[in-house]
Amino acid sequence: MDELTERLRRREEVLVTLRSILVRDLRVRLAPDQIDPDIPLFGSGVALDSIDAVDFVVAIEHAFAVRVPDDMMGRAALRSLNTTIDFIIEHS
């Protein structure tokens, strides 16, 4: 398996887990395949609120053994599933 294929496989794997967290743990009312990877997680799109944010961070930290900082960069990391995946892959 070449490096790109392995990288894409890893991204797909994390995407599936994050979608599962949103639907199973945070009760997002979208089907997993409807949660497209570039849509906003907060405000519009998935439309998480500040309470969901705490639950989402806890679930991510537990699932991927990463620490999401409670600062501007943490906020930037959680803008979409793709930015979250970028963060997880960079820090795990």
Partner: protein, 353 residues
């Protein structure tokens, strides 16, 4: 005023757009909700003052317009980017039930929509109106006390704070003048539709008419368990499986070659997708491309993508949306202001390469 100045205003201060962006329709009558539901891909779970961001589809499930639906008491105001008010009324007439129990009024000739966007758009609106603007949640609307009959929709498609102000044409000049006057302290700029569209593109909010919401990552704006204009075709397309998905790409730093829409995208000489829309971004100093890529490659971090027969575009690389750190995301409206903009410890607007 250059295009780069316009974009800098949207990204760094506040920008005013007065050119028409929307077809405007008001739907009234006892069956107004049923009429709007017939063309809305999302259910109208709206209280008065709330706004729904959805799409207008055609019979084939393809996007006709980017659509905001605002509820005001028992009426609905529709702002559609992509069709005129007249065309939107015709869509309602063709598809909404109980035609004798609702009325669609085309407001294009009688109303303007004044658009204010930027990280400090809230501060400008608060100066024009009052501090209550600061507490207005996203996707809600409010009446302007300073311009009777006018209503501001807090929406925005640039990743920055955005307000669309619906106002009767005879009153709009006075409001525009007041916005300009109050905007001097915030270095308000005039921005064209072009500049707004580039910013929407950079944030992954650009809507390509004629595309499918499934491929364009806009499934959050549709329901699959209701009937509305285009629903059947959309469900059929979903059941067939997705083969391609939209993806943002950037060209090399300093690159100016903008690929044409529809151009084929190649990797290692093999076709992997096509260009949907592309622009040069003065903020990023790169070309930004929205493309449709084979699903296996529609992830950030794929490089060496070429545009067929267009070497000037250079090698493209896929990226996560948004492509930049919107200043609006990092502002605390109780603390920050345009005057103190240099004091905040904000991340650079350009994300790491």
């Amino acid at each position: 005023m250059t295009f780069a100045d316009e974009v800098a205003g949207i990204r760094g201060s506040a920008a005013l757009t007065i050119e028409p962006l929307y077809g405007i329709v008001r739907v009234t009558g006892p069956a107004a909700a049923e009429a709007v539901e017939a063309i809305s891909p999302r259910a109208l779970f709206l209280r008065s003052g709330q706004i729904l961001h959805t799409l207008l589809l055609d019979d084939d499930g393809a996007i006709q317009a980017d659509l905001f639906i605002g509820r005001i008491d028992r009426e609905y105001v529709l702002l559609a980017d992509g069709v005129t008010g007249t065309a939107l009324c015709a869509v309602l007439a063709a598809h909404a039930p109980q035609a004798d129990a609702w009325q669609a009024i085309d407001l294009d000739a009688t109303h303007d929509v004044i658009s204010v966007n930027g990280p400090y758009a809230w501060e400008l609106l608060a100066a024009v109106e009052s501090d209550h603007v600061i507490g207005v949640p996203y996707l809600t609307s409010f009446e302007l006390e300073s311009a009777p009959g006018a209503r501001a929709f807090r929406s925005g498609r640039t990743g920055e704070f955005g307000y669309e102000i619906l106002i009767e044409k005879p009153s709009s000049a006075a409001l525009i003048e007041r916005i300009r006057e109050r905007g001097r302290e915030l270095d308000l700029v005039d921005a064209t539709r072009d500049a707004l569209e580039l910013c929407a593109l950079e944030n992954g909010f650009f809507v390509v008419r004629g595309s499918s919401p499934i491929e364009l990552q806009l499934q959050w704006r549709v329901d699959y368990d209701r009937d509305y204009l285009g629903a059947e075709a959309l469900r059929r397309r979903r059941s067939e499986g997705v083969r391609r998905r939209s993806c943002l790409m950037v060209g090399p730093a300093g690159g100016q070659g903008v690929p044409t829409s529809g151009a084929s995208l190649l990797r290692g000489g093999a076709p992997i997708g096509r260009v949907l829309h592309a622009r040069h971004s003065p903020t990023l100093d790169r070309v930004v491309v929205l493309g449709l890529l084979d699903l296996r490659l529609a992830h950030p971090g794929v490089d060496a993508i070429e545009v067929a027969d267009d070497p000037a575009a250079g090698a493209l690389q896929t990226r996560s949306a948004p492509l930049l750190h919107n200043r609006s995301l990092f502002l605390d409206l109780q603390i920050h202001s345009y005057a103190s903009r240099a004091d905040g410890d904000f991340p650079d607007i350009v994300r790491g390469t």
